[in-house]
Amino acid sequence: MRHRHVRFALFILIGIAMLAIAGHKIVLAEYTLRHGAPYRVRLTGFDPQDPFRGHYLLFRMPDRAERADSGWAGRPGDRGFVTLSRSGDGFAVFAELRAAPPAAGDYLRVDRRYMSQEFTPPFDRYFVNERQARFAEDAMREAQTAGRCFLDFRVYNGFAAIEDIVIGDTPLRQLLKADAGK
């Protein structure tokens, strides 16, 4: 009987942990979107899909930075930190790739790649409704040709959250809403 109670108590703890894990992700994303520092990068993209999470626009964002730790003896896939600043035209600059977070300024937590100055960016996809995937892809491709496709994101304490993809001057979310209303 005591064994059964322990098992049930453990089950309740697991349930709380499950809800907390999913809830923690929401809180972190919401906090970053409200209080994080805003940045913008240029994008390229196309339209594949994820077997578990639906259609998305796959894109590329900058993935190189100068190495601040020349003596790094780690392996590809080790965690690293990339510092962030802004260029003169307002775009994000990934400045230094290092093994530890900087004492001051914004940074992102990333995985390091095979090339020592490369890292895996925090984002590579933007989910869209499968009915509108083709529309979003076409809009993105046209904007990319004109060099007018951007990603706005916010950064807080090494964590980044996407605000929106911007096509020209219009957020993609707004374009999709207008397209859905047609």
């Binding site: 049930f8 499950m18 809800l19 999913a22 965690r79 995985d111 996809r125 933007y126 409704n129 996407i162």
Partner: protein, 437 residues
């Protein structure tokens, strides 16, 4: 099987009369009683097993359907509503799991509840990351999802969730980079005490052998992970280890089952492990044009699977050939054609997918029906494993919408549950008159 059980019941009823008439002595009567009672237990065991299979499959299908409906990406709803919709199934599954635990339900319920809770937890985390586009890698996702799942394995017991956990571990290990070294090892090690305890508890029975296989797979994955840490080119070692597990499994099944079981199960489980490892990148695509020049993993899938089946065909030719042998001969033929076509043209993806759909569904159902008719547990389990693999593969289909696939998954899950319900009632009704006679 039911007929055999009837005969066993009749003989058991006759034994006291035979002793009374002096036809049987007390010793012989006791031996007969033990023999026929064993047959009845075995039949009941098979029914319990099939019931378990159907219960877990329906939970898996309904969970998978929910994942795909979520993947449909409901833009019609606000993000907060979508988040609420992600949490509701999890909360409901947790409540149901709590009830199952509290009311001390049987293993079928416990396994189904554990699988369902895990599936809905994965759905909730996936929806949150989808809503915020904060995806990260599959390894990131599994790092968050797997710890509570392994804890559920201990709480609910059984092997259904443990088996799915090992499949997820295989994907985690194959996709994870150096940064996940310790999470990889710790999450694999977390399952080992459970499997050891289970093997000891069920010593000598089929579930213990299944648990032993899971233990071997887990241990080998851990060894490989450590070796990759030392040498990043040890992928070949990984593949050969999986091949050895395949052979080990063949030996395991051969010692206790018929040639047919060996024929179907070795290839089936070998494919399960291989495809679980490589499928998430769209293995059908890899088997197409890039197959010849592609990576080692894709080649290994084709070569090892065909090798195992070729060996099995030779084995089958030396034996009698009833219908299920012909089925087993047709299936590798389909595999050969699909791989050959895949090598010739990149546009053959649809044909490969179609052939393998037929291949897995036919094979899985044949195994289950065969096992059910013969009253053997092994083919039933293998059939379940192959059908479950079929379900996993369907996640990567492109040409139907997520909504359609999700609804079909849920409908099949409900159908499995209904069959299970019918199955349990049917045998309960049949066994009642026997029990009273």
């Amino acid at each position: 099987m039911a007929k055999k059980q009837h005969i066993a019941h009749d003989v058991l009823n006759e034994i006291p009369l035979l002793v009374e008439c002096g036809i049987l002595d007390a010793g012989s009567a006791e031996r007969m009683r033990l023999h026929y009672a064993g047959q009845i237990d075995s039949a009941a065991d098979v029914r319990g097993r099939l019931s378990w299979v159907l219960g877990v499959l329906s939970a898996f299908l309904i969970g998978g359907g929910a994942i795909m409906i979520v993947a449909h990406n409901w833009d019609d709803f606000s993000p907060s509503l979508r988040l609420a919709a992600a949490f509701l199934p999890l909360a409901a599954a947790l409540a149901g799991g709590g009830y199952v635990l509290h009311s001390s339900r049987g293993p079928v319920w416990r396994d189904a509840a554990a699988v369902l809770i895990s599936a809905f937890f994965a759905v909730a985390v996936a929806v949150v990351s989808q809503v915020y586009h904060s995806i990260g890698t599959l390894s990131d996702f599994l790092t968050w999802v797997l710890p509570p799942v392994v804890a559920l394995v201990y709480v609910f017991g059984g092997l259904a969730l443990a088996t799915l956990y090992v499949v997820a571990l295989a994907v985690y290990f194959a996709g994870a980079s150096a940064g996940f070294f310790w999470p990889n090892l710790l999450l694999a090690a977390a399952l080992v005490p459970y499997l050891l305890g289970y093997i000891r508890q069920k010593a000598g029975r089929f579930p213990a052998q299944w648990a032993r296989l899971l233990l071997v797979v887990t241990a080998v994955m851990m060894m490989i992970r450590i070796s990759i840490r030392i040498d990043s080119y040890s992928v070949a070692f990984f593949l050969w280890s999986v091949f050895l597990i395949n052979l080990y499994l063949g030996g395991l099944v051969a010692r206790r089952s018929s040639a047919f079981n060996l024929l179907m199960s070795v290839g089936g489980l070998g494919m399960l492990i291989f495809v679980a490892v490589f499928s998430f990148n769209g293995w059908a695509h890899e088997l197409s044009g890039d197959w010849v020049y592609g990576d080692l993993g894709s080649k290994a899938v084709g070569v090892v699977a065909l090798g195992v089946y070729g060996w099995n065909i030779l084995f089958a030719l030396m034996k009698r050939r009833p219908i299920h042998y012909w089925v087993a001969l047709v299936l590798p033929g389909l595999a050969l054609i699909s791989v050959a076509v895949g090598m010739l043209s990149q546009r053959a993806d649809w044909l490969i997918a179609l052939l393998f759909n037929v291949y897995f569904t036919f094979g899985g159902l044949t195994m289950m029906v065969y096992g059910f008719r013969k009253g053997q547990l092994t083919p039933i389990n293998m059939g379940m494993a192959v059908l479950a693999l079929q379900m996993l593969l369907r996640f990567s289909e492109y040409w139907e919408s997520f909504l359609t696939r999700g609804l079909v998954f849920i409908a099949i899950g409900v159908l499995f549950a209904a069959v299970n319900f019918w199955f349990v009632r049917h045998f309960r009704r049949k066994s009642k008159p026997e029990a009273t006679s």
